[in-house]
Symmetry: C2
Subunit: 363 residues, 2 copies
């Protein structure tokens, strides 16, 4: 293998894939990235067996070949080189990396042992705007669980309902759902939330389309020159829609920034009670107050003005409330619930596409 690439391209490709490589695993080769020529392109790949990412860049190839090299070293090294032409020249398993000022030898492992994800031969294929997809994923993925004892809850569900494509995630304490787009495709995919975090890092802020291809076991996302393949999670997702309240005995509409501020201050006094705060909504006062439960440190009551229909109070985890408010984007939020023991719904006043549910705590 012998070729030339620009530092900018190689650095960008390593930035896309290197995080997936893992040096703490049992297979040493999974700490490496695979570098492989094909005509006048170079592919840079990494995998952790659940997910594989490949980034293609242009290259001036004078001799075809492939090798795997340590991902972290390679990424740190290339990112510290000045911009310009880099020559990669493989002799045996030693990759010679040279520029005019730097001569390096990186010790590799033969690419024969590098695991390859099976290709998706026949599957469904559809596409979506990258910018919208990125924002929606960010709003939903935070509600997924990281507890591996209930694998289905560690996933993000892509599903068709009444001619629309929805994504949803829940850890059983809170739930986030976003309507993505109209669709005629029947979609039902449960994708690891960790893979969606990797996809988020890849999705740029540009309008590039994301192409999605899937079969029974896997899903492939293609964005520009980057491909991400991930396994699907097996199992039946809970019927979450029946948990989302549609009508409210108590509803407060207020400035999102006001609710963020009063929640933040109250949460400081709720550290000993694991973040538990009580929200009092008063129709008479047209206000929403947050009380932290009295503790060794002290206590706090913070009040914001709100448009209120129906008084009531509910106890929530303030961290979940702050997460939800961070995921909403409008200036005004609606905060609604039906008594102490029922789920609370937060949403933007102007849009029903994104719904965020938080289960109450016993107070």
């Amino acid at each position: 293998m012998k070729l030339q690439v620009t530092q900018e391209n190689l650095n960008r490709a390593l930035g896309s894939v290197a995080r997936v490589a893992n040096s703490r695993g049992t297979l040493p080769i999974l700490a490496n990235v695979l570098i492989k020529t094909s005509n006048n392109r170079l592919s840079i790949s990494a995998t952790n067996l659940d997910i594989a990412i490949t980034h293609y860049i242009g290259a001036k190839v004078s001799e075809e070949g492939s090798i795997t090299v340590p991902a972290r070293l390679m990424q740190d090294f290339i990112s510290n080189l000045p911009s310009g032409i880099i020559t990669l020249d493989l002799s045996d398993t030693k990759l010679n990396v040279t520029t005019d000022k730097y001569q390096s030898v990186v010790n590799g492992i033969m690419s024969d042992d590098f695991p390859v994800m099976p290709a998706i031969t026949k599957g469904k294929k559809w596409s979506i705007s990258g910018k919208e997809f990125k924002k929606s994923l960010q709003q939903v993925v935070l509600a997924a669980s990281s507890d591996e004892t209930r694998p289905v809850l560690t996933g993000v569900l892509f599903n068709t309902f009444e001619d629309s494509l929805f994504i949803a995630a829940t850890d059983s304490y809170r739930l986030a759902e976003k309507r993505l787009t109209k669709t005629k495709e029947e979609v039902d995919l449960l994708i690891p939330a960790s893979s969606m975090q990797d996809l988020l890092r890849i999705l740029g802020d540009n309008e590039e389309e994301v192409t999605v291809t899937h079969d029974e076991q896997q899903v492939l996302f293609q964005v520009g020159d980057i491909e991400l393949v991930t396994r699907l999670i097996d199992g039946k997702y809970p019927d979450y829609r029946k948990l989302i309240p549609e009508k409210f005995a108590t509803e407060a509409v207020l400035q999102r920034s006001d609710l963020v501020n009063v929640t933040k201050v109250s949460s400081l006094f709720a550290r000993e009670s694991a973040g538990s705060v009580t929200i009092d909504v008063s129709e008479e006062e047209q206000s929403l107050s947050i009380r932290s439960v009295a503790s060794q440190l002290g206590e706090n009551t913070a009040t914001a003005t709100a448009k209120v229909t129906g008084s009531g109070s509910i106890t929530l985890n303030s961290r979940y409330l702050l997460d939800a408010l961070g995921a909403l984007s409008g200036d005004q939020v609606s905060f609604g619930f039906n008594g102490k023991l029922e789920p609370t719904l937060l949403r933007d006043l102007k849009s029903k596409d994104y719904r965020h549910v938080i289960m109450p705590l016993k107070s």
Copy 2:
């Protein structure tokens, strides 16, 4: 105690002092800040028994008094409040903190038990420009040791030599010295480097004077409305001046940014050898090259052009070299040494006020 302050002032004062309070210690009250009125001023203090910081702010006091409250809670709380007037009202040991939107009760501990640093009654007093002092401290304090088994090396030495005031620090692997100013005062103070880190956080970028007062046990730094008192370290500091080379068999002068780049890249390949790299200076080639020792990962040689007198090579810890280059400020550096086993000196080409010595490794 009853008074009004602005959120801005109280927040600034807590920002200056709260980091010194320590919740992991044995005395619970040391996790608190002392809040105390005196006429129309409010003092906010924290101490860890080695160091005490007090910040004075203006206040509208209607009832004198004092209390201690948890430092971290108070700082987080006040920093999250909107700007404007805050009322502090003490009843028993409960401090009521109110603004128009927030009502909080912070549980305090009586101030009687709060330790007070002894005052400096008769001592020497001098002053120095804050801006120059800050930069100089930053250049020197990084060379101090954090190993408590040799306490003198955890200090920064302030000392007078040939009518100039110098500060110096060494951990026995490297040494940094800065000439601060001309002086007629005989100064010989060994101050904990950790206290100097606290002082650095307090020193602004403005031209404010720092007033220094010291006796046999303690030193007081006054900057604007802030006072920092720290104990001194007992013990004889090594006679470091004889370690600083004055003449060189080998000297390279080069762009500081070039030397930073080649060192960074080589250090990536030196992780397995604890950062050890070999610097080759060639008079014939008029260049400085850095080689990382061959390892499991690979190896690297990086070259920068330099003005060289006398060829030679030396092995150093690349982390110390990067620290030294970060502390220097000019465009061009001089890198000089006398054979493999003698200390290396780095300095700005245009100034001899700052000298940084690194001891060689065996190669």
